[in-house]
């Protein structure tokens, strides 16, 4: 009984971790299905996120506006991960 639970848990974890790289270019729709991530669809790249982001100040790799732009321009998910250095 506990074994099945564990495999289920493992499967769930794997799903959460590996999915993004396999999502291809239309990953924004996948992400929007995750609870609290549905607002990804509302972004129109005003740039407030980057202006307010404490990390964006120190480097070019993780500017939220750029990431949102790449998401909406439907670049491949692997490219987005590369941008983040992942």
């Amino acid at each position: 009984m506990s074994e099945t639970k564990e495999t289920q848990k493992k499967e769930l974890e794997e799903k959460a971790v590996t999915k993004v790289s396999e999502m291809g270019s239309r990953f924004k729709y996948e992400i929007s299905k995750i609870s609290r991530a549905e607002k990804i669809m509302l972004s129109f790249q005003c740039g407030t996120c980057t202006a307010d982001c404490p990390i964006a100040r120190f480097g070019d790799s993780s500017r939220p506006r750029k990431l949102m732009y790449m998401t909406h321009a439907q670049v491949d998910a692997t490219k987005l991960l590369n941008q983040l250095g992942l």
Partner: protein, 325 residues
């Protein structure tokens, strides 16, 4: 001895500045531009004053790319001045061709715009109710501002123009082709639109099947099926009423066409053409229903003016809200 270089000018009026960036979007082809032409006037990039342009002899500039609509006295003056100084004047971008987004101000007037921008907007703190004045006397002398018009005009409503290059901003292929045509002296007849004679739908890679919809969605509300016409999925796409040349870039990333390419060839009105296209597919099933309510169907369209006339209000038959004297 090398051939004498052409003289280019770029100017911006009521626009966002995106068109200036579109010029650079042609990437390495900008080197070809520099090879064939000298840029003699470009306020966004070069420090050349208006008085320098006034000092030029008439028809001194070979090609002037003018972006932006005309909404102030200064812009009108520059449009007339550049018309006088240029052999070829190109309306560059949606604003110059058809009024563009600034043209939506034609539903309002100067008084209302100033009240909103300088007095009522939530982020404004203006206790003395200061609004722009044409001239103000200060101890150092008199300060002046150009007049702000009630009506936004397109460039061709202001001066005589030679070519239209539509798009918001114009697609880099169109810009590159236009520059090539200028370099080879193969420009089409005056008054031509420097874009293909087809609609966005003709260039769109998505498949169209049976045209029938009963519900209209906004972009964030649905996950569009890949490779299926967005309009047939209920997302308002201006493709059928919009001139192509953009290779349907927006649609290929699931964003509907907003109509920046302007009026299709042989159409008079972009908004009317789109309304007619939409009404021919909207609610065909519901029509048979006894409880058919056309108002309900139409009420699904949020912001009809901003949807159908986003870039073309000043150039349309509507042109502007009637002004009460």
């Amino acid at each position: 001895m090398t051939k004498e270089k052409l003289k280019f000018a770029f100017y911006w009026a009521a626009s966002c500045g995106g068109c200036e960036i579109a010029v650079l979007d042609i990437d390495e082809k900008i080197l070809d531009v520099v090879a064939i032409a000298d840029i003699v006037f470009w306020p966004v990039a070069m420090d050349i004053k208006y008085k320098d342009v006034e000092a030029m002899s008439d028809k001194y500039i070979d090609v002037c790319f003018f972006n932006g609509a005309i909404r102030t006295e200064e812009q009108e003056h520059m449009a007339k001045l550049l018309r006088k100084k240029s052999k070829v004047l190109v309306a560059f971008g949606s604003c110059a061709c058809q009024g563009g987004v600034p043209g939506l101000a034609n539903v309002s007037n100067r008084k209302e715009i100033f009240e909103r921008a300088y007095l009522q907007s939530p982020s404004t703190n203006n206790p003395n109710s200061v609004t722009p004045q044409l001239s103000v006397k200060v101890p150092e002398g008199e300060l002046t501002l150009p007049e702000f018009f009630d009506t936004v005009k397109t460039l061709d409503q202001t001066v005589d123009i030679d070519y239209y290059l539509p798009g918001c901003p114009p697609h880099f292929n169109l810009v590159a082709k236009a520059v090539e045509a200028i370099a080879k002296n193969e420009l089409p007849p005056k008054g031509s639109v420097l874009a293909p004679e087809k609609s966005v739908c003709d260039e769109c890679p998505l498949k169209k099947e049976e045209k029938k919809i009963s519900k209209i969605y906004r972009v964030y509300e649905v996950t569009p099926e890949p490779e299926k016409c967005l309009l047939e999925q209920g997302i308002l796409c201006m493709g059928p009423a919009t001139r192509g040349g953009c290779e349907a870039q927006c649609i290929s990333v699931d964003m509907p066409c907003t109509g920046c390419g302007g009026i299709c060839p042989n159409e008079i009105e972009q908004g009317a053409a789109m309304m007619s296209a939409l009404m021919s597919i909207l609610g065909l099933d519901e029509e048979k229903d006894p409880a058919y309510d056309v108002e309900k169907l139409i009420a699904q369209i949020k912001d009809p003016l901003g949807t159908f006339y986003r870039y073309s209000l000043p150039a349309s038959i509507l042109r502007r809200r009637v002004m009460k004297k």
